[in-house]
Assembly symmetry: C2
Homo-oligomer: 465 residues x 2
């Protein structure tokens, strides 16, 4: 309740109709401070070079890999260099490796071979040599669920469910297909399938397969699971369509496997609060990525957004009222051990938490922020629209916070979680694919994201409890 | 005045507080129609393939070139195929060619040669063989203007004025540098310079030089004018900075030249109005482009936005109240003869004009529309914000219409000109450069632009005079 009051007071700073003379002064200086943040980001920013380093000098950094460890060390060094008090926070993480073999062929009843571009899904078992099986196509996970054991038994299942292109927000289209990636193998195995491949979760018809995590339900056989690029998923569909009755074989080999859990770390960096040092605002993204591409948008951009936001606030000699804590979370992609362990740890340490902010939707042109919180907190968020209008932000509404900060909700019921919202149109052209590389991040779009987050932290910190 | 009334009536359809039962019905069906437009564009759209054809099968299409003529023929054929009544509208256009030679070297006083990447500016004369001259750097057009004749005489001038990166809207930064490209050569020639090179009008530091039009003032010597890519402009600056006193030479050769005016065409396609067939809504972009790259964003995207908008309205069997006229303007880039001739021609034909819409800011994710019109017309535009909120459009304000439709203002004082506003962050990475190619246009972003424009045409047409 105390929190809510605190939030509602901030409203007075930013709604013009309620301004008193003193508030007006605060507002003017706030507006200038935000303008200065943007100028720093756009004219003297480190964001682009820092992201280049993370993508090109470190690269893809799946949980448990040497690259992930290098990224942890880089992250702490960067935070130190930018003047934060840092520490590592030990966690136990899953460890899965893709291995060296990843081949897929379609063999038609006429004997033609069609090479397919695919990726094992994260968590999948390997094929133990070559796996061959008759392929059966389903148009959706639901139609696979409805299929009989007789239809599926002994076959390799292909779930060709496309993301819904007519959705305006691509994350909505992704949400509609998300269960497909996680659950298809288990549903197929329950009916006796020997392998499972899905259409990649991407909107464009292109040659980039998209990986991502999958899980085996208890008690079912662990069968190999992979994703085929959308262009080749269309090819398979065309082969079936041209001759529905033919006996089509899928030939696949993957030597991916899981190892025992490993030790890893969240990276924490702080600027102590001058007034309410025991109240924390957590700001972060995830340092791990999938093992393909460079994790440039997912979530290199989010890491850099937050790092650059802290650098800018430090550079501008900003002395926050609350303690600002930057967290590079580990293992968002396949387990969220970083987020879960962090939420438990802060609670055990009896820390007070004021709010949390996450950036994990790519490095595109900013659109705004969403809030997973109470009606009053969302109402407060809405009052920020005029402040950010000149910077082209317009989304200030109820919505998701982020995977990493999500578990804080259990530790602190009532805490507002804020998610940074960039434009979503290009995200699923890259997400979890070899196409998620530095070259596909635009410098200015990245910089504007960092400036938006720095400004948001500043406004949030300026509330008067 | 009648126009203004007409506009204000539309407001009632879209502002929820004023809705009557009947209006509410109209609103619901309008909302569904707009949703159907978006679905058509995103799931069965022709935009991406049509743009690919224009960029890859035709290519760059500078006014007066064979490619421009091919684009005219393609445009009419496409309009016919999509069911419009078409005609060509003859115009006289300038004809300038780049030629085959375009080389630039810096020679330091130490004798080092540094190759520079540059492009002649459109309209420039050639160098008549190799041109060599001592180079003098100015930080801005203003500082060149302030320089004495003694400083400049006999030299090649280099104006290294950078676009202002701290501007949020990149078009503002462009506007600040625009005079530099058009006028540097004339200002330099007035002071006796023998050549003029400028820093390319682009925000990123990259290897792509940006061309664009330049003009010779009456009575000054016509000296060769070129733009050097920003990365190499930085190199030249560094050479001067390292040793300010050294004698630096620029060596350049260009064989560009102008030819007599040529005959060309605007391409017009119409859907006749069912109720007010004598009142016209003109919708368009420009078919010509610069002769480097493929004119993908400038203005292939605008052409395709408008073509696709008309295709969708036809596909949905929409019977407009007003006559909708699609115009592919020729020669926006270096003379605007298409726009000027069109405005004169419609006036001479005593046509009534209701409004005009242009798309000429690239094929990026839509942000909204601006209006060059009266306060009342802008107020009407603002009422559209709720209608487009679900489609992520949020800019509905006073602003520019477009170069091609601009001259209609003289023919019809009081006519509202609407400009489509996509996100501007990446535009000047491509604009007028070899980097403006099809690959740099995102399919969904392009499709969303076409849907926004089709929806806007529909709403505008639905007003009840």
């Amino acid at each position: 309740m105390n929190k809510l009051k605190a939030f509602s007071i901030v409203v007075f700073f930013f709604t013009s109709t309620l301004l008193l003379a003193q508030d007006s002064e605060i507002k003017t200086s706030s507006a200038q401070f935000i303008r200065d943040i943007y100028t720093e980001a756009l004219t003297k920013g480190h964001a682009y070079e820092d992201l280049r380093f993370l993508c090109k000098e470190i690269g893809a950094r799946i949980t448990g890999s040497t690259e992930a460890q290098m990224a942890i060390e880089w992250g702490q060094k960067k935070m130190n260099a930018y003047g934060l008090e840092t520490r590592l926070h030990e966690i136990q993480v899953p460890h899965w490796e893709r291995g060296t073999k990843e081949v897929f062929y379609l063999k038609t009843s006429g004997g033609d071979h069609i090479k397919l571009r695919g990726l094992a899904l994260g968590g999948s078992v390997g094929t133990k040599g070559t796996l061959r099986g008759r392929l059966i196509e389903f148009e959706s996970l639901d139609s696979l669920k409805a299929a009989s054991i007789e239809m599926v038994k002994g076959k390799i299942v292909f779930v060709n469910q496309a993301m819904d292109a007519k959705q305006i927000q691509t994350f909505k289209a992704y949400g509609g297909c998300y269960p497909l990636r996680g659950n298809s193998a288990s549903v197929a195995a329950e009916k006796g399938a020997i392998g499972s491949v899905i259409r990649s979760l991407g909107l464009a018809s292109d040659p980039h397969p998209h990986t991502g995590s999958m899980y085996y339900a208890d008690g079912v056989d662990k069968i190999p699971a992979a994703a085929i690029c959308t262009a080749d998923a269309n090819k398979i569909h065309a082969v079936f369509k041209n001759n529905p009755k033919q006996d089509i074989e899928l030939v696949m080999e993957m030597d991916c496997r899981s190892f025992p859990d490993a030790t890893s770390y969240n990276v924490l960096g702080e600027i102590k609060g001058s007034k309410y040092s025991d109240e924390i605002i957590t700001v972060g993204g995830h340092l791990d990525s999938w093992d393909t591409g460079e994790g440039a948008h997912d979530d290199g951009a989010g890491i850099i957004h937050c790092l650059e936001a802290f650098r800018i606030l430090k550079e501008m000699n900003y002395e926050p009222q609350h303690t600002l804590r930057l967290v590079f979370f580990m293992n968002e992609e396949n387990g969220n051990k970083g987020g879960k362990t962090y939420a438990k740890w802060v609670k055990e340490n009896e820390e007070k938490h004021f709010a949390a902010i996450e950036s994990d939707r790519g490095g595109f042109a900013p659109r705004g922020f969403t809030c997973d919180g109470s009606e009053e907190q969302i109402e407060w968020l809405r009052t920020l629209a005029p402040v950010f209008k000149a910077y082209d932000l317009h989304v200030f509404e109820k919505g998701y916070g982020g995977v990493d900060i999500g578990p804080l909700k259990e530790s602190y019921p009532g805490i507002p979680l804020f998610g940074f919202v960039p434009d979503s149109q290009r995200y699923f052209d890259m997400h979890h694919s070899p196409n998620d590389v530095f070259e596909n991040v635009n410098k200015r779009e990245l910089e504007l994201g960092a400036a938006a987050i720095a400004s948001f932290i500043y406004i949030l910190d300026q509330k008067n409890p």
